[in-house]
């Protein structure tokens, strides 16, 4: 029993676990929007696009979150601009922009390596996180939680039906920018925990898992942030025993939870779908109407009086 409590005896482990949990919670919260808006690729893109900003911030002696946030937004803006002005498919635009940003970032770091730990950017370094970086993470987390808490219904409508949002006079453009800004900021925070390469997982997997578990958006957001926090905490904890990369532990755990949900989810899981199909089979005759559907076979009025003319 005592052996299981060992990680809690080390300050750096305790810090790593709770900071990871905070990051996991915000990423999970955002992942609800990312998965439903079809922005999974964008999450990945932003996490790579922040790299040149990190390098630049180091050169200029600014907090790295500021630089990362700036290039993240710049990349999002560039993607939106190209998509608007050309018929190139969205996934291709995203691919071109984020790899370019990432490449520039790598180039910048390789040109002036002093002070920038490439490995920490790409793979994360939550065990050695500096107090200043913790503050940055907390600021991002609190701001994101507040904004989503206040505006989640507007953001939901923006994701579900942007036309309706516009029709009732919501500021659709501003909601779009807000969501992008939150994503960029969160991607920066998540880079601390799992590194740029795995940020996308943090921003997608909890949302995808929660989607399998509920049919209500509000509940989905709650679930995905709880899953994000839980997996991040447990992953960081497990990394102590496995002596493996924290990011790898967290994301592997998230993937495992996703797999479990995929199989066992009460309604959308593989087992549940197989079960309902088995139950439905014997009665699933053509013409059998479901639930309260009105039968469509009734003839239009007057048809019964049809008689052949001679």
């Amino acid at each position: 029993m005592d052996a299981l409590l060992i990680p809690f005896r080390y300050d750096y482990m305790v810090t790593a676990m709770w900071v990871s949990a905070v990051i996991g919670a915000v990423c999970g919260l955002l992942s609800g929007f990312v998965t439903l808006k079809g922005w999974s690729l964008l999450g990945d893109a932003l996490s790579h696009a922040v790299v040149p900003g990190v390098a630049l911030a180091h050169w200029l002696g600014l907090p790295f979150a500021a630089g990362a946030f700036a290039t993240g937004l710049l990349a999002a803006g560039a993607m939106a601009f190209i998509k608007l002005k050309t018929p190139v498919r969205e996934d291709a635009v995203i691919g071109v922009v984020f790899t370019s940003f990432f490449a520039v970032g790598l180039l910048m770091i390789s040109l002036r390596p002093a002070g920038v730990d490439l490995k920490a950017i790409v793979l994360g370094n939550i065990l050695g996180i500096a107090p200043a970086d913790i503050v940055q993470v907390l600021v991002v987390a609190v701001a994101a939680a507040l904004l989503v808490g206040l505006k989640w219904r507007d953001l939901m409508l923006f994701c579900f039906d942007p036309n309706q949002a516009r029709a009732i006079g919501l500021p659709v453009g501003r909601l779009h920018v807000l969501l992008l800004a939150l994503l960029s900021a969160t991607a920066v925070a998540a880079m601390q925990a799992v590194g740029a390469v795995l940020v996308a997982a943090m921003l997608v997997t909890p949302g995808a898992t929660a989607y399998l578990l509920t049919d209500r958006f509000g509940r989905m957001l709650g679930l995905s942030s709880a899953l994000g926090a839980g997996c991040a905490f447990a992953g960081a904890y497990a990394s102590y025993f496995l002596d493996g990369a924290t990011g790898g532990c967290i994301v592997t755990l998230q993937a495992l939870v996703f797999l479990i949900a995929l199989v066992f989810a009460p309604k959308h899981g593989l087992l549940a779908t197989a079960r309902t199909r088995r139950i439905a089979e014997p009665t699933d005759l053509p013409g059998a109407s479901l639930g309260t559907d009105t039968p469509t076979s009734s003839l239009p009025g007057g048809a019964s009086q049809a008689r052949p003319s001679n």
């Binding site: 994701c159 309706q164 006079g169 049919d215 009105t294």
Partner: protein, 307 residues
């Protein structure tokens, strides 16, 4: 006081060009007032959805203006006047929201900053769902509905919003007769309440039955006005070209011995029937006796009995 001011919708020389360079609509002009059901009729790709989106302010016209009661669309949106029932293909049916959630979205404009529903909002949602007969299914995820039920949910959302201008993009496509009649009955109620209803449809035959005005469109507005003035053979030919199938009784095997006892059957839509001089024929005489006697009189005047 703004609620009592009459509502109107006006498009002036609206031209819409998509980013791809495709000009879907050129110099479209129309003017409609409250208390009407107007049909928007045209072939596939004629620009019906495009015109709707321009009227709703979703697409900015390259040229021309849209005004609602003399104001910019943006202002009308803020007041919650503009309600839109999208074409079914435009909706993400796998989104985790219930029927009641979707209808509640119609109320967001009227809610406070946090969009927390109040008793009034809940009552509006319940009333709208009951009016379209979907109250029992309010807890369903929206993807778990039939095509007709899905349509009704979005109609309910427009009702809950209380829009004074309601645009419905093909609400009757893939809908059974019962649902179509229910929606039509609802649109009539909305007209009685003084709202402006604009509905795009491919069911030409049902247009005279419930629409008092028509906008004929093919890349531009070809004609608009009262149904019996717009639905002439010339206008319909201009709008549809060869895309209409006609059964011309004169050239058919139908003969004098049939008298007036013909029965026309179609598989899904009401047929559009035009009389000898190209005027509209309606499905039921009841309620239109005046029209029949007037036409009889006119025919007698025009063709004095042969000597």
């Amino acid at each position: 006081m703004t609620e009592s001011e009459p509502i109107s919708l006006e498009a002036e020389n609206v031209t819409v060009t998509y980013p791809s360079g495709q000009t879907a609509l050129r110099d479209a002009s129309l003017r409609l007032e409250g208390g009407t059901i107007c049909a928007l009729v045209g072939v596939n790709g004629s620009g019906k959805s495009t015109l709707f989106k321009a009227l709703m302010g979703f697409l900015a016209p390259a040229r021309g203006t849209v005004r609602v009661a003399g104001r910019p669309v943006r202002e009308a949106q803020k007041k919650g006047w503009m309600a839109y029932v999208p074409q079914a293909e435009e909706v993400d049916w796998s989104f985790p929201v219930s029927v009641a959630d979707v209808v509640m979205m119609g109320r967001y404009g009227q809610m406070n900053f946090l969009r927390i529903p109040r008793a009034g909002d809940r009552a509006a949602v319940e009333e709208s769902l009951r009016r379209v007969g979907m109250w029992e299914l309010r807890e369903r995820q929206i993807g778990e509905l039939s095509g007709g039920q899905k349509k009704r949910v979005f109609v309910a959302r427009a009702l809950a919003q209380g829009g004074r201008i309601i645009l419905l993009d093909e609400p009757f496509t893939g809908v059974d007769v019962g649902t179509e009649e229910a929606i039509v009955a609802l649109l009539r109620e909305l007209r009685e309440e003084g709202r402006l209803v604009l509905v795009s449809t491919h069911n030409l035959g049902s247009v005279p039955e419930f629409c008092d005005q028509v906008v004929l469109i093919n890349r531009t507005v070809l004609a608009f006005g009262p149904t019996d003035e717009v639905f002439t053979p010339e206008n319909l030919t201009r709008a549809f070209g060869g895309a209409l199938r006609a059964f011309e009784i004169e050239h058919s095997t139908v003969d004098a011995h049939d008298g007036r006892a013909l029965t026309v059957l179609t598989d899904d839509e009401h047929p559009l029937v035009l009389g000898r001089s190209g005027h509209l024929e309606y499905r039921r005489r009841a309620g239109r006796e005046d029209l029949v006697s007037e036409r009889e009189k006119k025919a007698r005047e025009e063709q004095p009995p042969a000597a």
